[in-house]
């Protein structure tokens, strides 16, 4: 099987637009913060954050969180390269919107929630993902906002490619491992 394009640049653009409006519909602006999961969730989170500001004019605090040191697969051959964690505001008592690109086993999100709790106790954590691979979950974690649901087998990877400024070249593809 060759790589199959699941969403092209225009479709991603539409999905981001819809997700942003869904978020605006449901969040409490005065009390919400947006946090992107490193490395690639941050790119999606930045786009959604900008979109929400553009649509509403409300400044929502934005942060990044790295999950490396909270993962449960340390010493099991995974990458050690930690990325920047940057949360310059209090999350105690806030509603956190956690954003990642692909939800797969759920382990990254578990680690991200664990890392997040080192910064305080949010009243609520919600999850937004661009792609939900719903049949491969290993933990009881479900997204609150979903771009697109895909059914995949384990031997296939789903990758989101961000092509920098040229949004038209963004794509979500199936890659055979």
């Amino acid at each position: 099987m060759s790589d199959t394009v699941l969403l092209n640049g225009n479709q991603i653009q539409l999905t981001i637009e819809r997700l942003s409006r869904e978020v605006i519909e449901s969040i409490h602006f005065t009390n919400t913060v947006i946090i992107g999961v490193q490395p690639r969730g941050v790119l999606l989170a930045e786009k959604i954050h900008q979109k929400i500001i553009a649509l509403t004019g409300v400044q929502i605090p934005f942060g990044k969180i790295d999950t490396t040191f909270h993962r449960d697969d340390f010493r099991r051959g995974k990458s050690l390269n930690a990325k920047v964690t940057e949360i310059d505001f209090h999350i105690e008592g806030k509603e956190v919107l956690l954003i990642d690109d692909v939800l797969y086993t759920g382990r990254t999100i578990r680690a991200a929630m664990d890392a997040l709790l080192s910064f305080g106790r949010p009243t609520k954590i919600e999850l937004l993902v661009l792609i939900d691979r719903r049949f491969n979950r290993e933990l009881p974690i479900q997204p609150d906002f979903v771009g697109s649901v895909v059914d995949t087998i384990e031997s296939v990877d789903v990758e989101v490619h961000w092509a920098g400024e040229e949004q038209i070249n963004n794509e979500v593809i199936f890659v055979k491992k």
């Binding site: 490396t68 909270h70 050690l80 940057e86 910064f119």
Partner: protein, 309 residues
């Protein structure tokens, strides 16, 4: 590059440039962690580390211990003064007994140069050298490099002076290896009696004129006069040493630029460094101590990953 090339950190001499860069890069993330409201990550919760200090230490031992606790490792502490070493047990026996209780990593300080290397050839656990006699003190050099980078950026072609008792200093030797590998220019400055002969072969300059050296450098790393390791007189008196080789405010005021002052501690105040400089805004001595925890977390984190399931 996301793995260390070695399962031990015995000395900077045997680390690659990539190893050093990986440790320094990882330490940046750990510094962020130790400044969080909850300064702890669960990463090493299944790792047991033994701190074997056969020689006295305050700063290094506390720094390692805190770094281990911040990583959630289980730790045991050992100091030779209250142990069976006093009854004549050999180093290898002591360590093997501790390892048989399922310890994964050893952090060791020992008065004999090469002690950590000797152990690394005979045991399986990861070893971190926390100072072996007058040989090396790798984590100190790494935290010094980290602190310098934080202040002046990439060390390539930067001018670093190491001042004072080079002969008895493991910090000096590790610093020289580390700074040279990172591409810095290094000048050693001190009385001729305290600078080993032929040290230029390591690619460093030697000077005996403190004022010239201070004017040349971007950073001055001032070393402690190690009176406990000096069994002969290397200079006539502490007062004379302070006069010719002590860094003080008058000397820094004469320079045409501002330089950064570092010291690995403990300071002999009024000898190699005057109090008004040690406590001034030029000095980053306390930042070095803070960075020490982050750098040691990075070293132990990366070493623990060498023990794959």
């Amino acid at each position: 590059m996301s793995q260390l090339s070695s399962k031990h950190v015995i000395g900077i001499e045997h680390l690659t440039v990539d190893d050093i860069q990986l440790i320094l890069k990882t330490a940046v993330q750990f510094k962020e962690i130790i400044n969080r409201p909850i300064k702890k990550v669960p990463t090493l919760r299944d790792i047991t580390i033994a701190n074997l200090f056969f020689e006295n230490s305050t700063r290094t031992r506390i720094s390692f211990e805190l770094a281990q606790k911040r990583l959630s490792a289980d730790i045991i502490n050992f100091s030779s003064s209250s142990s069976s070493v006093k009854k004549g047990e050999t180093l290898l026996d002591t360590v093997n007994n501790i390892l048989s209780m399922k310890v994964d990593m050893i952090v060791m300080r020992h008065a004999s140069p090469g002690a950590a290397h000797y152990l690394s050839e005979r045991i399986d656990a990861n070893i971190v050298n926390a100072g072996d006699g007058t040989h090396e003190h790798p984590t100190q050099a790494l935290l010094d490099a980290y602190s310098m980078q934080e202040k002046i950026g990439d060390l390539k072609n930067k001018k670093i002076a190491i001042l004072g008792d080079i002969m008895h200093s493991r910090v000096a030797l590790s610093n020289i290896f580390c700074l040279k590998k990172l591409g810095a220019e290094v000048t050693l400055c001190g009385p001729a009696t305290l600078i080993p002969k032929h040290i230029e072969r390591l690619g460093v300059n030697v000077s005996h004129n403190l004022d010239e050296t201070l004017q040349w450098c971007d950073v001055a790393n001032v070393l402690r006069i190690q009176l406990e390791r000096q069994n002969t007189k290397y200079f006539p008196s502490l007062r004379e040493y302070a006069l010719y080789f002590g860094v003080n405010k008058q000397r820094l005021d004469k320079l045409s630029k501002e330089i950064i002052i570092m010291h690995p501690g403990p300071i002999n105040r009024g000898v190699e460094l005057s109090s008004d400089v040690a406590d001034s805004e030029h000095s980053i001595i306390l930042e070095q101590v803070e960075n020490g925890v982050a750098v040691r977390m990075a070293v132990m984190y990366l070493l623990a990953n060498k023990q794959q399931f």
